[in-house]
C-alpha cells in the first residue's frame, strides 16, 4: 500500500509528462546575456561620465568663486575716467596732488607748537 503511494508520489514529482512550453534556444540566452552585459557597461559609462562632468563643473564653480573673492573691494567703485569731463578731471588731479602734499607735511614738535601758539596770541593791551 505504502509502496503504491510512493510510486504515485514519485511519478508526480518526476513530472515526466510536463513539457516545456517554449523551448529555450541558446541563441536567445546568448543574446540576452550579451545585451545585459552591454547595457551594464553602458550604464557604467553613463554614470562615470556624468560624475566626471559634475566634478569638472563643481571645480570650475569653486575656481570662479575664489577669483571673485580675491578681487579688491574698491575696484568696483572706481569710476572710469572716460565718464569725467576734462574740467572735472583737472580738478580731481589737483585734489590728488594736494592730498600728496598733505601726506608729506612734517609733524610739529610739542615745544614748537607751544611757541607758535604764543607767537600767534594777540598781545594784551
Amino acid at each position: 500500500m505504502s509502496d503504491q503511494l510512493d510510486e504515485k508520489i514519485d511519478k508526480f514529482l518526476k513530472a515526466v509528462d510536463v513539457e516545456i512550453k517554449e523551448p529555450i534556444s541558446a541563441t536567445t540566452i546568448i543574446a540576452i546575456a550579451e545585451n545585459r552585459r552591454f547595457s551594464k557597461r553602458a550604464r557604467y559609462t553613463f554614470w562615470s561620465t556624468s560624475l566626471a562632468i559634475a566634478a569638472c563643473l563643481l571645480f570650475l564653480f569653486f575656481v570662479m568663486q575664489s577669483k571673485d573673492e580675491s578681487l579688491p573691494s574698491d575696484s568696483v567703485a572706481l569710476v572710469p575716467s572716460s565718464i569725467l569731463s576734462d574740467r572735472d578731471r583737472v580738478l580731481l588731479e589737483d585734489v590728488m596732488f594736494f592730498s600728496n602734499e598733505f601726506d608729506q607735511s612734517t609733524v610739529l614738535l610739542d615745544d614748537e607748537t607751544f611757541d607758535l601758539f604764543v607767537m600767534l596770541q594777540p598781545l594784551e593791551e
Partner: protein, 212 residues
C-alpha cells in the same frame, strides 16, 4: 578541447554573497558539460546549444514542480542558463556539473520564492481550503489530484521541497543534497521524509474520499 585542471577552483557564490560549497580536495573527472562550458568560454557558441538541449527539461521540471506554473518555470530556466553562460569562464569542475547547475537554480528559486512569499501564503491557504471536487469539475481525476498535490507541495517549505525534488528527479544521494544545501545529511533525510509524508497524507484522504 583540453581541460586544464591547474586553474583555480570555482566555487559558486549565492546571490546572497555566501559561498555555497567548501573546496573539494579531489577533482572530479571533467564531464561533457565541463568541456562544453570551456568551449563556451572560448567563444564557441554551439556548445551552449548542447548544454541547453541537455539540461533545459530537467531544470524546467524542477522549477515547474517547485513553483507550480509554466511562466515562472520558463523564466527561471532561462535565467539559470544566462547565469551559466556568464560564469562559463569561471567554472572549474570541483564538483559534479549538475551540483553547480542546481546551486545556481536553487539560488534563483530562493529569490523567486522570497519575492512571492507573502502573496503566495495567503493565496495558497485560500485556494487549498476552497479546493473541492466541485471546484475541479471538468477536469480528469488525474488532473484533479495532480493539482491538489501541486498545492500541497507548494505549501511545504522551500528546503523540504527542493530536497525532495533533487532526490526524486535527479536521483541524488542524501550526501549530495546535503552538500548543495549546506546542511547535514540527517537533516536532509528529515526534510524529505516530512515532505513525502505530507503528500502521502493528502493522497490517503483523497483515496478515502474515493476521488482516486
Amino acid at each position: 578541447m583540453q581541460y586544464t585542471s591547474a586553474k583555480p577552483l570555482f566555487f559558486p557564490v549565492s546571490s546572497h554573497g555566501t559561498q555555497n560549497k567548501q573546496p573539494s580536495t579531489d577533482e572530479v573527472e571533467p564531464s561533457e558539460e565541463s568541456r562544453w562550458l570551456s568551449s563556451v568560454a572560448d567563444g564557441e557558441k554551439q556548445a551552449m546549444g548542447l548544454l541547453v538541449g541537455k539540461w533545459q527539461e530537467p531544470l524546467y521540471r524542477f522549477f515547474y514542480r517547485s513553483l507550480g506554473n509554466h511562466a515562472d518555470a520558463q523564466d527561471l530556466t532561462q535565467k539559470t542558463f544566462i547565469r551559466i553562460y556568464k560564469a562559463a569562464s569561471r567554472y572549474r569542475p570541483s564538483a559534479k556539473f549538475s551540483s553547480w547547475l542546481f546551486t545556481i537554480a536553487r539560488n534563483l528559486l530562493i529569490d523567486e520564492v522570497k519575492r512571492k512569499q507573502k502573496a503566495q501564503t495567503i493565496e495558497f491557504q485560500e485556494e487549498l481550503t476552497s479546493m473541492t471536487s466541485s471546484s475541479l469539475d471538468g477536469k480528469s481525476v488525474v488532473d484533479e489530484w495532480k493539482e491538489i498535490f501541486q498545492h500541497v507541495l507548494q505549501g511545504t517549505p522551500e528546503k523540504q521541497r527542493t530536497a525532495l525534488l533533487l532526490r526524486v528527479q535527479q536521483e541524488w544521494s542524501y550526501l549530495e543534497i546535503a552538500n548543495l544545501m549546506e546542511v547535514s545529511e540527517q537533516l536532509v533525510k528529515t526534510w524529505i521524509y516530512r515532505a513525502r509524508q505530507k503528500l502521502k497524507d493528502r493522497l490517503k484522504i483523497l483515496e478515502k474520499k474515493g476521488e482516486l
